[in-house]
Symmetry: D2
């Protein structure tokens, strides 16, 4: 397909800090696994590109919807020395955007649709994983693509979806066709753009957290998009009580709308006391740390586990943070508890199951509090540096 397209592009200067050393997978002046140690003076530009051509295992996607993620915000945000906030894999200039959906326009000769196990015909409505796991390294061969040793990431070091078109490998695409019965018009694409963040939550609580038994109790700490999505997933999984702890009122309300049964404002009430009260002294089977302040919240989680009567509690740590959690081994021992870390959204059948949940009525589109055009993306990314009231701002592309 010939033609031009616009892409919301992040541009920054390669200017490594004194202590930065090029890692084994970094490429001088181009890509790094440690973004915040290298990139300075980020700026967002809408640039014009040739529409790209898919390789043999790839497809060309016409993007229909793409949400803004916190990492988009942090890539464009910078500290006093002008270094970007985002600490991870980055390669600039790069079109941003990794929570998206669209329509298959063109497919390489070896690109197969996992939904049909046949070649793409064009016209398929799909979403994609953001993580382009290589499928070749030891973690991929062993079944752990979220821990791929040669990872690329859409919208971080390869061009993303704040654009009319995007190239993707067929292996990370997932069909949205089953949503056609429950969503009308563009809503299927809005829902589709939420599969990626919902899959991050699903991977955390179901795959890494081990899931729950119907009737179990859960507590989510932090009402950002992942925390809110976890409320929906765990309510779907049969939690009898889903408790969200979140000081921001709009976020707490969103969690209650999406799946939580109770909200705690940890700045206004004692978190541990309140959880024990709500659960009649039982505590919870699963906790998700999604605040990014583990050193603050972990002691409270621990008190609920210690004083509650529930054995076998799992604490899933999903938010990234540098601070150490002060963990008392005895609590894990006496209460038979465990702590797991979670990252990613790929593999383990997660994407198709999230889509099947949506096809059965798990409606995440409530999370979209604002819809914008492609031109409005840069301003909204900047706006989200300070505005914590929006849950998800999503770009619709005609």
């Amino acid at each position: 397909m010939k033609g031009k397209m616009q892409g919301v592009t992040l541009v920054a200067d390669w200017d490594p800090k004194p202590d930065f050393m090029l890692g084994s997978k970094d490429i001088e002046s181009c890509q790094t696994y440690l973004g915040s140690l290298v990139w300075r003076k980020p700026r967002l530009e809408i640039r014009e590109y040739d529409i790209p051509t898919p390789g043999p295992n790839e497809i060309l996607l016409q993007v229909k919807a793409c949400g803004i993620c916190g990492s988009d915000v942090h890539m464009a945000q910078y500290d006093d020395d002008s270094y970007i906030y985002y600490p991870g894999l980055t390669g600039f200039p790069c079109i941003l955007g990794h929570e998206f959906s669209g329509i298959v326009v063109e497919a390489g000769k070896d690109a197969f649709d996992k939904h049909t196990n046949r070649p793409f015909k064009g016209g398929e409505r799909v979403t994609s994983e953001e993580m382009l796991w290589c499928g070749q390294c030891k973690p991929c061969a062993d079944g752990y693509p979220n821990h791929c040793e040669r990872l690329d990431e859409v919208g971080f070091n390869v061009n993303g979806a704040f654009a009319q078109y995007i190239i993707l490998p067929a292996r990370t695409l997932w069909s949205l066709e089953s949503l056609a019965d429950v969503y009308q018009g563009d809503d299927i694409f809005l829902a589709g753009s939420l599969v990626e963040p919902t899959s991050v939550a699903y991977n955390a609580v179901i795959e890494r957290g081990g899931g729950i038994h119907p009737g179990d109790r859960v507590v989510i700490l932090g009402g950002g998009p992942i925390g809110v999505a976890a409320c929906a997933v765990l309510k779907k999984a049969g939690a009898s009580q889903v408790i969200i702890s979140e000081p921001q009122e709009e976020r707490a309300k969103m969690a209650l709308k999406i799946g939580a049964d109770f909200a705690i404002n940890p700045l206004k009430e004692n978190f541990a006391d309140r959880v024990l009260e709500l659960t009649d002294g039982m505590g919870a089977n699963l906790f998700m740390e999604a605040t990014g302040l583990p050193e603050v919240v972990y002691p409270d989680i621990e008190r609920v586990i210690w004083e509650g009567r529930t054995l076998n509690s799992t604490i899933v740590v999903i938010a990234r943070a540098e601070a150490k959690m002060p963990v008392t081994g005895e609590v894990l021992q006496v209460r038979r508890a465990k702590i797991v870390g979670s990252q990613g959204h790929s593999g383990h059948g997660t994407f198709p199951r999230v889509i099947d949940c949506m096809a059965d009525g798990m409606d995440m589109t409530h999370m979209i509090t604002k819809k914008i055009s492609l031109e409005e993306v840069p301003a909204n990314i900047i706006e989200l540096q300070t505005n914590r009231k929006e849950c998800k701002i999503t770009c619709l592309i005609q």
Copy 2:
């Protein structure tokens, strides 16, 4: 507590068939693990008893509700030689009734309430497991009370709950207090009397079947009370599609009301074709055989697994049957499938989780299609020998 009470009592004659040999746990003229080889001429009588006195680890329960189970029917039903249908553990005469709830009246000095970890005060609303696992044998010590080697069963070889009062060990009691917010008046006892059959279903699909991931698809074959309860449990667990296969119209409707999304009448349509059609060629993650006709339905299950694209399917066999299932190993190999058997409802946190599901809105009381008094129990047990339209007939005791 002094006084008299009525009990619906099954009386039968000890008259072993020629090939019967007293087993290691049988007791001559009194108890056997193989009821249908021994007991003749069953009859139901309402007899008068002294209200019993609890031992140190026991409580006296005032019964409020008790449902009729298929095994009650089979104990009172007999073949051409007058031998009872029911093939399992039995000791007559015995008051029947094992799906029940009531109020704690009196407690022995060592009887503790698991809900509070304190002695009973009296007045607690509770239900009980039917299986009085011994807590001493190897399976019990290893954590498998459903496979207790020295089992007693309420309403089979120890007196049951079609009576005003019943004695129970404290260890098998579970509090219904959390249901007080969702049920008014006697409805808490009606719900409570359904915890036992629902726990049989929960144990089958969640504990033995390994549960499901939210978004998975499931098929239940057979719409008796356990099959219907499984529909509710699996919908609660996040199944995106719950399919019931049942030829009897009333039963299929009940399943749809309680949790199923689709019903198949296997006498009028091709089961395998229909499942593949409803699931868009995917098949299902979990199948429950609850028809008692495994030799008939297994080949159909196998075809869905073979032709469907779902890997890792689990087939849970819950109905008892003498017929062999003709299993093709290659289907289990190519589709990474497995077959498990399930029995019982005890242990593994099942009872309290079922109650917590009910407290969160899983309303099983729709299953009760008829309410009766204690005096009407014998006639209704007989009636159910032929009537397959009722789902659950429940006795309310004032």
Copy 3:
């Protein structure tokens, strides 16, 4: 690398039986998933080939050792109508050989060594999976490469390792370097050629069978190479009693040498009685059906489970067979047992773990009862059609 090489090539005629229909993945006159319905008049020829050139993700391997597998025998064996025995994926003419090891000679630019996460340098000693899973389809993306929907198989439909050189994708290679401490000279390659069949056994009992707890008891039915390898793996895993059931004396002795503690000759003694006697009435935690006669042996397995006191037994079906197993659901119910099927050896960290077991002293090279040259391969493949005394015949290539 320029030059010529010899390859032991299976040639056959494409002559579909009347009832054969080209499947979705078959290719007319060339490849099929149902070999025995299509290929006639197989013959083994040593043909000359150009040494092939690796693509970007591939390597060129100098083969050092390659064992003969039963499927090699069945591809060259034919029935009364001249159709081959082997029923699976095949594409002829094809160089046979899929249990092998060798030295990396040349690598494409994108071929990485999973052992180092760096490009190959040449000289690495490696083995490979036989299954060339695509890494793109739904089963691969979900983590189940043994169930790849677009599978190629080395030595079945792509050229195999009875040749001086072979081309392989880097993703299926595994380093043998850790064996250098325990094997001298060519023995590292002999050991390496046994990683594939040992991984089939490991995948069956550890991955699909769920492994065992140290101290558990196991029974292997069938002393072919996979059954024998399973004895070694399960003894390594801590089985307190490994029992092999095998009528052929040489095979039983091999199993005892490799890891079994006891051998049963099921033609001379009652299998079930003997297992119960050896285990002091406990039965076993894991059974592996590797005879190919499930209709014969399953009732015996069932009797051990029924009469033994062990709960939670797992029956792993690894041998392919058309006959149905007559399964009594009640045995699975009362004994909390399950049946699983197993195929393949890929994924789940199996290959590297098998190699690590070998590095720790699990010596499979005892299984090699005869070493031959490349020229002798055709005659030995024919010989194995009738000779059941050899365990593994392995070709060493200088």
Copy 4:
């Protein structure tokens, strides 16, 4: 059985510290869950007792061997204010001793032998769990006896086995008969007295740690009896590399003798560097913290996980300690790792499996470095307050 016996009795004064409050399960002047806050001036006395009489579910055991445990030492050891070191459940005066074996002398009418599912005959050689789980509370009913809410402990708050006779409930006894083939004379009792500590290790690494796959690598930090036993259990389970980290030379040697492949002296070499070197940069699948200094060793464990290439590492915390572990969530996330706590040895089939491992050659008796008589027990308990060279001192009773 009539007569007198001696018992090594710990006597102490009930003298609660100012901040001590009687807990819900404590009994004034008699029993407490917080020993070190209450008991002062401990002294060991050999007192004379009547031989006790078993209740209906109990047996009378003639003790043959009993080992000294670290907790025996800590009960008799006191701080500057004369309070005992041991912080847990205690009720004095009490005969000490909880790692023991002996011969059944007399049995109550309801006491069954789990090994035969029949009444005891007398003469059975058995060992016992130390934890007398109640079998009635919620954790027990759910299958978690190590977390019993109404626990008694042999040798802590009920009379123990440093005596000629002891009373025990039948449900915690396990047969040693299968050891009769591998041990002669009293050695069966010496082995039997080690089942309890070995089961603590087994519960930690196999039950709580989830076990390992054959070929996995493991690191044990701390070479006390539990750490040493874990080396044996993990080698039995197929670990390809068992690494012990222990500064005391005698302890390291014992670990190497019992099952470890490599020893690290963390005071003389860098622990993390050495583990990465020994494992060729892989790190380990399982770590067991058995030092009691988690704040010291956890950062090192974390570095091995971070720099090693192994995913899914499990850290099992078995030693009790008050210090916090400084846990970096990102390490758990990036490496897919988890932390679990472990306590106890009961349930989950652990005791019989440990005995079956011993029957298959896992010889723990090497751990016994000194054998003593009953009269010598008090002096040796005192001796162990300072002597760290002995591994296990065991009392043989004629």
